[in-house]
């Protein structure tokens, strides 16, 4: 019916009586394809061909053409007395004239009423990050990007406008050139970033749909949609672009830990404080004994000199290193008026500051567009990538053999090498202390890799049924194979008894997608502009994996499983899902003043329960371009002013593929037979979580666009949020998942830009700035059965943020005894805390986030300085906590040593040492909020200084452009933490921290 409605709008063309031909080019004189060329105030228009050329019949009375294209401004050109037009588009000057991608469509920002953040290629170019999500950090308001750790190509946490779910996924939907990308991490042995398949320098623009705009993607869009458009070819002489940067990754900081004498002193005190009846000499002998030294000294002096003679090893120095960063790219772009292409190849390596986690990647991207006939366009795009990562001992956690965890905590009396150069403390011997592995040797001996080979491609046919109606048939494929191996060497403690352990995995994912759309675009009576979309989409994803584990290798040189004596296990795995949807969108603009856009999607997912497989997702957006009103004429303040509002519903389908089914699963074995067990109760009512987004926005520009601003106020309300409802174990099950919870995210986003200094002279000094601010408040609204708090989980309670921290308040150290003190419910000092003493301390979600970018240009020089910030998150760093204990099991932080309680009367925050960990009848010294900290920071994320050779020079060198640049990343951080790095997500125990990067590069066009 809808489709018929669209057709009913079709009317016969008016007579035309003049032809204008021409070519639209960019600043480099390359043709701009797919630029829209319309007669101002009419529906008459066309789009340019692959070489940027066009031919248009215009009414006799037409006087002006309007030309627009993605990434360029809207430009008008007079056609009075002209039949041929050549127009060079300059990059968009007014943000409202830019074109944004809205999902299956593009639209001029002025005609779009949704809350969409856009990041352009120039903003993220040449950043030494291997994935595009990191490039979004601090640049798009309301998009929170947090790194799990600093593994190059490691996992990233991206949240758009807060956390909208308890149990289901919270990451946005990513679409690259129309293909929905699979973002699951399938690597068993290290972390991978599913978005690192794409060289960020191949990206043209990133559009983030944050409000009702996302409803066009229905059941998968509740966490927002990130649409990535890659660079395409432009017609003209083939142009090459060579780009390279090399640089170095360095540790941001190391942890300041103790030397052996300080360590021994702490340990002696810990024994002393645990048992006052022992003499000082006895305690020294105990500690010397622990350090495997003579422990029968009879006088203090000899014991002291034995302690003074202890060697100290800095294990952090031994395992941290400076890593090399390299990137090489070559692209070629060109074509004829019918066919354009772009091919780009890149090779990137990033060595990690803590091994083994080096990343290298090769990519090859190929784009081809052919104008088969005047009506038919064929587009194809192919991205091939292979990423190789070395496998660390562990990506996080307190593993004895993990250099990232143990290097700061090993007791420093241990030595790395014996005098003869061999490793000390290797099996059957071990190190002194709980951390008894020589992590340098473990790291050297163990090996492993993870390889991700991925192909993402698409093919589409565009057929212009009429100037105002086109049909698109799109097919996409995202194919990925992840292969990994980990070998635990027989010379390491973990591999010694089993004579080596080999593990391999292979996981392949095939994701096929197709959609068909009809797009309608017409203008009536010069004032009524209508565009409409009708389409259907289908997606199929299959994921399969095999794995094997074996032990017992003949010697350490053998690492392949077929040489192992004992196969431990083999595994095979299959999963998948199907989605389908019908969607439509209609956009009506009256006189450029009022805009209304309606969206409707009817979506299916095989993940949902039988009773709820299909869902309807509507959205509506309106905008009022006040600056177009008569009463705004003649005023000089506002060069732009518009109000927007939207309301829409989207779904979160990020649940397990078979969560709704009643299942008998394989796995049990008995008496030589394979069995099955009842693993999951049928839940036919299971469905998507539903997020309703309301958004009000205002965009304005002042003083001839000198200042531009966008302000968004939103509420994102999640209904039908999944929660685990406990059921009686007598049912054979512990819980069922049900759509019962509710939560809300509310916030404000501000994007403020401006030309602080303009210059009339192209070479003059210019300062351009862009400030991004986002505030988000998350609140749990409803749990199940009227509960105010999830059973056993005080971090989730009604009226608070998800991830609230409830614990007791630390009250410092008793100046008389050195015991840690806490506050009880009445605010009185207590030593032994009770569950009821816990109070709300804060939460682990940042409240304010954003960034501030500054661009300074003068002649050929440009300087970009980008600051990024987060405020309002409470964190606990597991690594620091291990190093802040009060019993000296491990090496400790210097500040613990310096500030520990030693003398009665001393006022300090660090309790006295005690080998028992906690004082008798006292709670642990690390309890309460003592070790929590505000993870607020402002970071000088990136500074880039670039110099473009003047045309007079590069043309003499037969070049089209030449640019030299140096860049630094994570240069300086203002924060208050003892951590390796404040920018982490999760517990931080044993993670490879982020690095500081310095790079220098050259970019040459020829």
């Amino acid at each position: 019916m809808l489709m018929l409605g669209v057709f009913a709008l079709c009317t016969q063309m008016l007579a035309q009586n003049r032809t204008i031909t021409g070519r639209i080019t960019d600043a480099q004189n390359a043709g701009v394809p797919n630029a829209s060329v319309t007669v101002k105030g009419t529906r008459v228009g066309t789009v340019t061909g692959t070489d940027g050329s066009f031919s248009l019949n215009v009414p006799a009375n037409a006087t002006t053409l309007v030309v627009s294209s993605v990434g360029f401004g809207n430009q008008e050109i007079s056609i009075v007395n002209r039949t041929s037009i050549d127009l060079t588009l300059s990059a968009a000057t007014s943000s409202l004239d830019e074109v944004v991608v809205t999902g299956y469509q593009t639209r001029r920002k002025r005609d779009e009423a949704g809350a969409i953040s856009t990041v352009r290629a120039t903003d993220i170019e040449n950043q030494p990050s291997v994935s595009l999500d990191k490039a979004l950090q601090g640049r798009a308001a309301g998009v929170l990007v947090q790194a799990n750790n600093g593994i190059p190509g490691g996992a990233i946490n991206v949240r758009i406008r807060g956390t909208g779910s308890f149990l289901a996924g919270t990451q946005p939907l990513y679409i690259v050139d129309g293909v929905r990308i699979n973002t699951r991490n399938d690597a068993n042995f290290t972390q991978t970033n599913p978005l690192s398949f794409l060289n960020p320098n191949d990206i043209e623009s990133i559009d983030v749909l944050k409000d009702a705009s996302a409803s066009i993607y229905g059941a998968s869009a509740a966490n927002g949609v990130v649409i990535i458009t890659t660079k395409k070819g432009r017609s003209g002489k083939t142009k090459f672009n060579f780009n390279t940067y090399i640089g170095q990754a360095r540790a941001i900081q190391k942890l300041d830990v103790l030397n052996s004498q300080e360590y021994a002193q702490l340990r002696i005190e810990a024994y002393q404080n645990a048992n006052i009846t022992r003499t000082s000499l006895q305690n020294k002998n105990i500690v010397l004994g622990e350090l495997r030294l003579r422990s029968d000294y009879t006088d203090e002096k000899s014991a002291d000199s034995a302690i003074a003679a202890l060697p100290s090893t800095d294990f952090q120095d031994a395992v941290f290193r400076n890593g090399t960063v390299q990137n090489y790219e070559l692209s070629a772009s060109g074509g004829t008026d019918r066919t354009t292409f772009r091919v780009s190849a890149s090779y990137t390596t990033q060595e990690a500051i803590l091994t083994k986690a080096d990343f290298n990647r090769g990519t090859l991207k190929f784009d081809l567009t052919n104008k088969a006939t005047d009506r038919l366009n064929i587009n194809t795009s192919l991205n091939l990538s292979t990423a190789n990562q070395k496998v660390p001992f562990a990506t996080d956690g307190s593993f004895l053999g993990s250099p990232a965890f143990a290097s700061s905590a090993i007791i420093p009396v241990n030595i790395i090498y014996n005098p003869d150069g061999t490793f000390n403390g290797v099996p059957p011997n071990n190190y002194i202390g709980i951390l008894n592995q020589n992590v340098v040797s473990v790291n050297e001996f163990n090996s492993g890799y993870n390889r991700t080979n991925q192909m993402i491609g698409n093919f589409s046919l565009d057929y212009k049924l009429a100037d105002w109606l086109s049909f698109k048939s799109f097919y996409g494929l995202d194919y990925r194979i992840v292969q990994g191996k980990r070998f635990t060497d027989p010379r390491t403690p973990d591999g010694f008894n089993r004579k080596g352990l080999g593990q391999v995995q292979s996981n392949w994912n095939t994701n096929f997608l197709t959609y068909q759309t009809l797009t309608y675009n017409q203008t009536f009576n010069t004032r009524h502009r209508v565009d409409a979309l009708l389409g259907a989409e289908y997606k199929k994803e299959n994921n399969e994996a095999i794995s094997a584990v074996a032990e017992g290798f003949p010697t350490f040189q053998f690492t392949t499983l077929n040489t192992a004596a004992t196969p431990i296990s083999t595994g095979e795995f299959f999963t998948g899902f199907r989605t389908a949807g019908f969607f439509t969108s209609a956009n009506y603009s009256f006189d450029g003043r009022f805009i209304i856009n309606g969206i409707l999607r009817y979506d299916y997912s095989s993940r949902f329960g039988e009773d709820n497989r299909w869902g309807l997702f509507p959205g509506v957006k309106v905008a009022w371009n006040i600056d177009r009103e008569k009463f705004m004429e003649g005023q000089g303040v506002f060069s732009q002013l518009r109000l927007r509002a939207s309301y829409g519903i989207a779904g979160n389908d990020q649940i397990g593929n078979f969560d709704a089914l009643g299942l008998f699963g394989g796995g049990p074995v008995y008496n030589g037979n394979a069995g099955i067990s009842f693993t999951q109760l049928a839940n036919p009512e299971l469905k998507w979580e539903e997020i309703t987004t309301s958004n009000i926005g205002v965009d304005f520009a002042l003083f001839k666009n000198r200042v531009t601003a966008s302000v968004e106020v939103y509420s994102k309300y999640t209904r039908n949020a999944l929660l685990n409802l406990p059921v009686q174990l007598t049912t054979g099950f512990a819980r069922i998942t049900s759509n019962v919870g509710e939560l809300e995210n509310k916030g404000v986003e501000v994007t403020l830009g401006g030309d602080i200094l303009r210059s009339k002279n192209a070479d003059g000094f210019k300062w351009n700035t862009n400030f991004v601010f986002a505030y988000n408040k998350n609140e749990v609204k409803k749990l199940y059965s009227g509960l105010q708090e999830l059973p056993g989980d005080p971090s989730t309670r009604v009226g608070r943020t998800i991830g609230s921290i409830f614990t007791t308040r630390y009250a410092g150290v008793n100046p008389a005894t050195g015991r840690p003190m806490f506050l009880d419910t009445l605010g009185n000092i207590t030593y032994q805390t009770l569950a009821k003493d816990r109070v709300y301390i804060g939460d682990n979600q940042p409240e304010y986030t954003g960034g501030w970018n500054n661009n300074f240009t003068y002649k050929g020089f440009s300087l970009e300085a980008f600051l990024q910030y987060e405020y309002g998150r409470i964190a606990s760093d597991g690594q620091v906590n291990f190093l802040s204990e009060n019993l000296a099991r491990f090496n400790q932080l210097q500040y613990i040593y310096d500030k520990r309680f030693t003398t009665p009367g001393q006022i300090t925050s660090v309790p006295r040492q005690n080998v028992n960990g906690s004082e008798s009848k006292g709670s642990g010294a690390g309890g309460g909020d003592r070790l929590l900290f505000k993870a607020d920071y402002v970071r000088l994320k990136n500074v880039t200084l670039a110099y473009d050779l003047p045309a007079s020079v590069y043309s003499r060198l037969k070049l089209n452009s030449a640019r030299f640049y140096i860049s630094g990343t994570n240069l300086y951080t203002f924060s208050d933490t003892y951590s390796y790095d404040v920018e982490f997500f999760g517990s931080a125990t044993g993670i490879i921290p982020q690095a500081k990067l310095f790079t220098a590069g050259i970019q040459i066009g020829f």
Partner: protein, 506 residues
């Protein structure tokens, strides 16, 4: 022209839309799992599901460790060495250190599947009548065994009840839960203990009627049903039924008792000759491993004799002084707390061949202790042993006790003494002569303690008789009236179900 193109493309759009609507393109089935609604429709499906129920018995929280090791820790047989820190709380009878709540969840999950199969198996088209009879017999045996393990853990046993603290039996579940809706609605209460025992006996008697032959000892079989009937009846103090089923079982299996000369060797075989029902641990993937296997729980020794000096497991639970005394083992320096605390050396052994299974371990994890080696990697790999649940010697002792218990309707001290001597002689002891009355009864219990030590009997035997736990000199004694005799129900079950009452003291 334009109109015809429009038609073509609207047709294309519609067909692609229809393609999307095609059912097959939209549906996908899991492959590691099968749909619960059809899983039990085939013979293979039912067989696999029954295998799944047996498999749950292997859990370390069931017969993999807990049901074998914890009863000896809770009672007077086991001393916790603290070499891995495991079983220390249980040996100390700390509040809450008991058979864990996983027994509850795992057993009820097994019972639920059992009930679902019992409801579905009659309709399986490709199964023969014999298949169905065998299934029903096995399922009823399994349901009875799981209910029995639950009720003996969480409830007092009939005839040995502290009435003021008695909160009843355990929920008796005879109907399966298939859907989320049914799961939410299931809020059972505790069935009276006697009714739970009655149902266990009823299930076992039906199983006895269904099962034929002696069969594989690793799955339900007729002698196993009868032996379990004799044990359950002993526990509920129905002595005539104890004797009746013991008679029947002994008749059915014939002479399977080890003799004094084969006793040690029989404990070094994969399947102990005396086994009537065992939990089989066969494949490397079924190995519970170095932390919690029975071998690691009981001994530091690596494998069967000759014992090396290498250290394998932890040896967390070793014989107490009173058990050493009962076994006839004397440590160098005498069986005192002082000599017990340091490295053990065996000075003398009595002729009881059973004490030959107790060997000094290694010093690799701390002071050397005399350790039980019943589980020593008899299946060819360290930590891999089949676990006997019922051995024929127990059935003799069940019968002897039934005939020696004062007031028993089948009281027959002569026959009881004969059964006792059958065990004694086959264990290298000289026959007891002229025992009667209390001394006979106590000797039967003493032999039962020695015979079944570290096989998960001692705590239940003391509990069913209402006896105090004599933990001295290692630990403090625990009176039978103490609340710690019963395990706590999982607290989540109580929180979510008003009908369910927690045990006294928790």
């Amino acid at each position: 022209m334009k109109k015809s193109i429009l038609k073509i493309f609207s047709f294309l759009l519609l067909t692609s839309a229809l393609g999307v609507g095609c059912k097959k393109a939209l549906e996908i089935d899991p492959s590691q799992s099968i749909d619960a609604s059809t899983a039990l429709n085939t013979k293979d499906g039912v067989n696999a599901a029954i295998t799944g129920i047996y498999s749950r018995l292997k859990s370390a929280r069931q017969y993999g460790r807990d049901l074998i090791a914890i009863p000896d820790a809770l009672a007077d047989n086991g001393f916790a060495t603290n070499k891995s820190g495991r079983l220390v709380g249980e040996a100390n009878n700390n509040s809450g250190a008991h058979i864990t709540g996983t027994l509850w969840s795992n057993s009820y999950a097994a019972i639920n599947t059992t009930n679902l199969i019992l409801e579905a198996f009659a309709g399986v088209p490709d199964a023969s009548a014999a298949d169905k009879t065998s299934w029903e017999g096995q399922l009823l045996f399994l349901r009875a065994l799981y209910h029995f393990d639950l009720v003996k853990t969480y409830a007092y046993m009939p005839g040995a009840v502290i009435t003021s603290q008695d909160k009843g039996g355990v929920p008796l579940l005879l109907v399966g839960t298939k859907t989320s809706t049914a799961a939410v609605l299931l809020l059972p209460s505790r069935t009276p203990t006697v009714e739970v025992y009655n149902q266990i006996v009823k299930d076992l008697e039906t199983a006895n009627a269904r099962l034929t032959g002696t069969g594989d000892v690793s799955i339900a079989n007729k002698p196993a049903v009868q032996a379990l009937l004799s044990r359950v009846n002993l526990y509920r103090k129905n002595y005539s039924e104890t004797k009746r089923w013991a008679d029947s079982c002994i008749n059915l299996v014939g002479s399977r008792l080890s003799t004094a000369s084969t006793y040690v060797a029989d404990w070094r075989t994969s399947i102990h000759k005396e086994t009537i029902f065992q939990i089989r641990f066969n494949l490397p993937s079924e190995n519970i491993g170095v932390n919690e296997s029975l071998q690691t729980s009981y001994t530091t020794l690596v494998g069967p004799p000759p014992f090396g000096v290498a250290t394998g497991g932890f040896g967390d639970l070793v014989p107490t002084i009173s058990l050493l005394n009962a076994l006839g083992i004397t440590l160098a320096g005498g069986n005192t707390l002082t000599t017990y605390a340091v490295n053990h050396t065996v000075a003398t052994r009595s002729p009881d061949v059973r004490n030959l299974l107790y060997e000094p371990g290694t010093t690799g994890r701390g002071p050397r202790k005399v350790e039980n080696t019943k589980f020593i990697g008899n299946n060819g790999a360290i930590n891999l042993d089949n676990v006997p649940v019922i051995r024929i010697s127990e059935v003799y002792l069940n019968r002897a006790e039934a005939m020696a218990t004062p007031g028993s309707p089948v009281l027959n001290t002569v026959a009881a003494l004969a059964d006792l001597n059958t065990i004694a002689i086959n264990r290298g002891l000289t026959a007891f002569v002229g025992l009667t009355g209390a001394p006979l009864y106590e000797e039967i219990l003493n032999q039962r303690r020695i015979e079944l030590a570290f096989e998960g009997h001692r705590f239940w035997d003391l509990k069913r008789l209402g006896r105090d736990l004599i933990k001295a000199p290692h630990y403090t004694d625990v009176a039978f009236t103490d609340f710690r005799i019963l395990a706590p129900l999982p607290q989540g079950e109580i929180d979510g179900n008003k009908n369910l009452v927690q045990n006294f003291g928790y």
